[in-house]
């Protein structure tokens, strides 16, 4: 359980596993932080929370990572120690909801923001959909693969 940085010619890929969807999302987010900074100091920075909504599970992962990159730039802090508190959907777990209501997926998360001025961090430009995978691998376990543009 956790993440690994994978080889990708021009960019950086993160492969992550978790024993829940929440843990898997958080592990990808920690992979994003690791791709940005080799030595993340402990105990520096305040925690902040964020919430994201999207129309499906993959889009939720994409928008969550996109939001972290956005918050990094506007807060001038690298989000580390990511926790995803909850992921909820108005539809069924595997697909569109019943009836005519549009499906909405909602995530509540928090991160510790390490001021960029205190670390040697490199810019990850953006999350991409390219080769993105988010799959259930076993009993509640998930695996994700995300390529980031560097």
């Amino acid at each position: 359980m956790g993440f690994e940085l994978r080889d990708h010619t021009a960019d950086v890929a993160v492969s992550a596993t978790g024993d829940s969807l929440e843990a898997t999302f958080a592990a990808v987010a920690d992979g994003l932080a690791a791709a940005s900074c080799d030595e993340i100091p402990a105990g520096v920075g305040e925690r902040f929370s964020l919430s994201v909504t999207a129309e499906n599970r993959e889009a939720l992962l994409f928008d969550y990572l996109d939001e972290l990159v956005y918050l990094r730039d506007v807060r001038a802090e690298l989000p580390v120690g990511n926790r995803v508190e909850s992921i909820e959907t108005t539809g069924s777990d595997d697909g569109p909801g019943h009836g005519d209501e549009p499906v909405e997926w909602r995530l509540e998360a928090s991160a510790r923001g390490v001021p960029l001025a205190e670390i040697d961090a490199r810019e990850v430009k953006a999350v991409t959909y390219s080769e993105m995978r988010l799959e259930r691998t076993g009993d509640g376990e998930w695996e994700a693969y995300v390529v980031f543009d560097v």
Binding site: L5, R6, D7, H8, T9, A10, D11, V12, S36, D38, E55, A59, F62, D63, D66, V69, Y70, R72, D73, V74, A76, L78, P115, L116, A117, D120, A121, R122, E123, K125, A126, V127, T128, Y129, S130, E131, M132, V147, D149, V150
Partner: protein, 488 residues
């Protein structure tokens, strides 16, 4: 017929350095790769060829999708990809432009010679590093309020001129005179503007850099004269893009297109290729937003260049005008532009969204869109190499309109992943070796960036340029070699 078997994909040789992947399945046109066998061997095992094949699935793709000699695996569209999509019946794809809209390169001349700079390298690199924001969270040369951001997005370098960061002559030596028409600041999201407002005039990190270079060779003296380049001359090369504003703009539209044009998306083999049909509201909106981000990137490079002039003034104790620090040219290598091209042997013309992602426009002599200053010799093309190898100045070649919709390569092209680079190289060693063995002074915010950008991670830029020159899409004019380099 000569073929090249690349791990399951067979390329047929059309003629020297031109390889074709024939149409099959849902490919709308063939794919072409412009490369020597040596360059093909470098991409045979990664996803470059699969990605250029995928690009041929885009509606309205005209004649073929083309991979430049420096092409390598990217996301969606390969880096080094050129795709001309019909502007009436085709589509426009943010992912095929890339996140860093108008990432590009500009070169500034000086009248200094290498002798005059020798002995000042450390002072110069320190002063450039101290005065030009780089890395993550380093701020920008100017910080803008909402009104200023909108002005920059709408007017580009014209804004810089009015605010004392440019001179008239800078505009005349930039594509579109530094102002893209059809830029619509209202189509750029507040989130994108929030990211951009404290990054105006900043290099960022990754492969972006500012490099002081010396001209080592002039291969074509007539064109070299027209470009104002001579051996031993000092020039400055600046490589960066539209920073967070551009990255956010790409993502905003990728998501909107995914939601609103799902039918088209379902026909494509890679979600990152998501495209808005020509004529749709989102196609228009994205084009307006992308043009605004193009202006933002031009202003970014302009502010960095103007600040560099001030640094040189202090280090060499002379005015920049006296050092003749003039913009040679600015090229964009992540861009989609509406252009009119002949699309068949009969000379029928079509208006196309020419997507160049990691590819440089390379219009030949006589083309009306080449700035007046260079129209007789062809558009300057700047090809940055790695920090331990040379860079090149080319000119748009006479075959570029026939072969590549007026395009050529954009750099050396990566060979090795960033993670592998960090295992193989140590930033401090790379930095020391460059200084001791090649007299190249490097300064970066992060040692890891130096390792990730070590000269050994790139393809041989000489081979890339040789192929471009042999094909006549971008002809060799001059070669430069680094003197000092700053990066994020």
């Amino acid at each position: 017929m000569t073929t090249f078997d690349a791990n399951g994909i067979t390329l047929e040789r059309v003629r020297e350095y031109v390889w074709e992947i024939p149409r099959e399945g849902d490919m709308r046109v063939p794919a072409r790769v412009l490369a020597s066998e040596a360059l093909l061997e470098e991409i045979e095992d990664d996803k470059t060829l699969e990605q250029i094949k995928n690009t041929t699935h885009l509606p309205g793709i005209t004649n073929y999708a083309i991979c430049m000699p420096d092409g390598h695996q990217g996301y969606g569209f390969p880096v080094g990809g050129v795709g001309a999509l019909d502007a009436e019946n085709g589509c426009i794809s943010p992912g095929a432009v890339g996140y860093d809209i108008n990432c590009g390169v500009r070169m500034m001349r000086t009248n200094l010679t290498y002798d005059e700079v020798q002995g000042h390298e450390e002072e110069l690199v320190d002063s450039l590093f101290a005065n030009i924001p780089s890395g993550l969270g380093g701020g920008g040369i100017v910080e803008a309020g909402v009104d200023t951001i909108d002005e920059i997005l709408a007017r580009g370098v014209d804004w810089a001129l009015e605010n004392g960061h440019a001179v008239e002559d800078d505009l005349l030596h930039c594509e579109d005179e530094g102002m893209r028409e059809g830029a619509d600041p209202d189509k750029v999201s507040q989130k994108a503007k929030d990211r951009g407002k404290n990054q105006i005039g900043s290099l960022g990190s990754g492969n972006h850099f500012l490099e002081v270079q010396r001209v080592t060779d002039v291969f074509d003296s007539a064109v070299g004269d027209a470009y104002g380049l001579a051996e031993d001359q000092i020039v400055v090369l600046i490589h960066c893009g539209s920073r967070g504003l551009g990255h956010q703009t790409c993502n905003d539209y990728l998501r909107k297109i995914e939601q609103q044009h799902k039918g088209l998306l379902d026909q494509l083999p890679d979600k990152e290729l998501a495209a808005a049909p020509a004529g749709s509201q989102l196609a228009e909106d994205y084009y307006g937003a992308m043009n605004a981000a193009i202006n933002f990137a031009w202003v970014n490079r302009q502010l960095i260049m103007h600040r560099t002039r001030q640094v040189f003034e202090r280090v060499f104790d002379r005015s920049w005008e006296e050092m003749e620090m003039e913009l040679l040219y600015d090229v964009a290598h992540n861009i989609a532009k509406k252009e009119t091209h002949a699309v068949n042997d009969e000379g029928d013309e079509r208006e196309l969204y020419v997507h160049r992602k990691g590819a440089t426009r390379a219009f030949p002599a006589g083309h009306p869109e080449v700035p007046k200053a260079y129209r007789d010799v062809g558009q300057p093309v700047i090809i940055p190499g790695s920090m331990g190898a040379g860079s090149y100045v080319l000119r748009g070649g006479e075959n570029s309109m026939d072969l590549t919709f007026g395009s050529t390569a954009h750099g050396a092209g990566r060979l090795m992943s960033r993670t592998q680079a960090k295992n193989e190289f140590w930033g401090g060693d790379v930095q020391q070796d460059l200084e001791d063995q090649q007299a190249i002074y490097v300064k970066a915010q992060s040692g890891a960036t130096i390792a990730e950008e070590a000269p050994g991670v790139y393809k041989d830029v000489d081979e890339v340029v040789r192929v471009s020159d042999e094909l006549g899409i971008g002809d060799k004019v001059a070669r430069t070699f680094p003197v000092c380099n700053i990066k994020g």
